[in-house]
Symmetry: C2
Subunit: 152 residues, 2 copies
DNA sequence: GCATAATAGTTTCAATCCGCAACTCATTGG
DNA sequence: CCAATGAGTTGCGGATTGAAACTATTATGC
């Protein structure tokens, strides 16, 4: 029996050493992250994903398959009925910080002043505060205070 | 003179109300975020971006133009010499949390146990800790404790 | 100061990907 | 039974991509 990892796309990666590149290989296309966004907000069925994203059906079929193959979604039988549904795995739920930072960047830079947009709120309806990357000492981190260290 | 915003792609958005979708419209393709990653790690010139990412030259030309048009990169004259270079704007530098969360998800889920990868470190060489989204009260936030509130 | 190399693209062309619309097939509701 | 809905599949034309060759403008070595 052939032995291939569930994770790898085709045979190999755009940039095998870089976690950013690997993530983009897995979910970094035009639609996958929108599917994940909608899954996080309650979408379960093929038609519901199609309706929310506006993605073409054949492409949605392909993306759902890939997300399942990569362990982001799981397909299971709906509790009430015989139909199938797509739900996030723990791996998929763990994309929450990615979606959140995309959302927050968009809120800051992709809307004209005064333009309205949807908002992410917590259980009490309070808006989710902005994420800020901090170091071990609590200091703010950014491009200027960090760098990539190559594997040795 | 025609009046178009620098921000909008073509004329309109995949999902105009959603900041996640807008961000993906601007930088959510296979290569743009890798270009930003390399810009954050010191790449400046056309050839340097090409060498690091392995992107085809014509596509790189296109992506650099789009990133400039969207205000993520700026093109300026190199300090020592007459050549041009591409540098991140404040808007581009603000993508740091996005790149970081992509990186951290990849580290957690896109590598087999024991596989090595590049690491992001701070000025002292200490690894950057994992980002955790928290609410106003300091409690951890995830998919189950938040939801999208539509514009009213 | 001339040859050579590197930089920064542009062009061409084939292959791939995507979106749209039409079609299938199963289930459900009346 | 009939219509409607869900979950895809298929076919096809147009857009996007990738590889390679080509051009033009700086740098560099001798």
């Amino acid at each position: 029996m052939s032995r291939t990892t569930l994770r790898a796309p085709s045979p190999d990666w755009t940039d095998p050493d870089c976690p950013v590149a690997r993530t983009l290989d897995l979910v970094g296309d035009r639609w996958s992250l929108l599917v994940v966004r909608d899954a996080m907000d309650g979408a379960r069925s093929f038609t519901e994903f199609q309706r929310r994203t506006g993605i073409a059906r054949n492409i949605l079929t392909d993306r759902l398959r890939k997300l399942i193959a990569h362990g982001v979604l799981a397909q299971r039988t709906a509790p009430s009925g015989r139909r199938q549904e797509y739900v996030l795995t723990d791996v998929g739920r763990d994309l929450f910080p990615v979606i959140l930072t995309l959302r927050q960047w968009g809120e800051r830079h992709a809307f004209a002043p005064g333009e309205t947009h949807s908002t992410l709120v917590d259980q009490h309806g309070a808006p989710v505060p902005e994420i800020a990357p901090t170091g071990a000492d609590g200091a703010l981190l950014d491009t200027d205070t960090t760098h990539v260290q190559k594997t040795r």
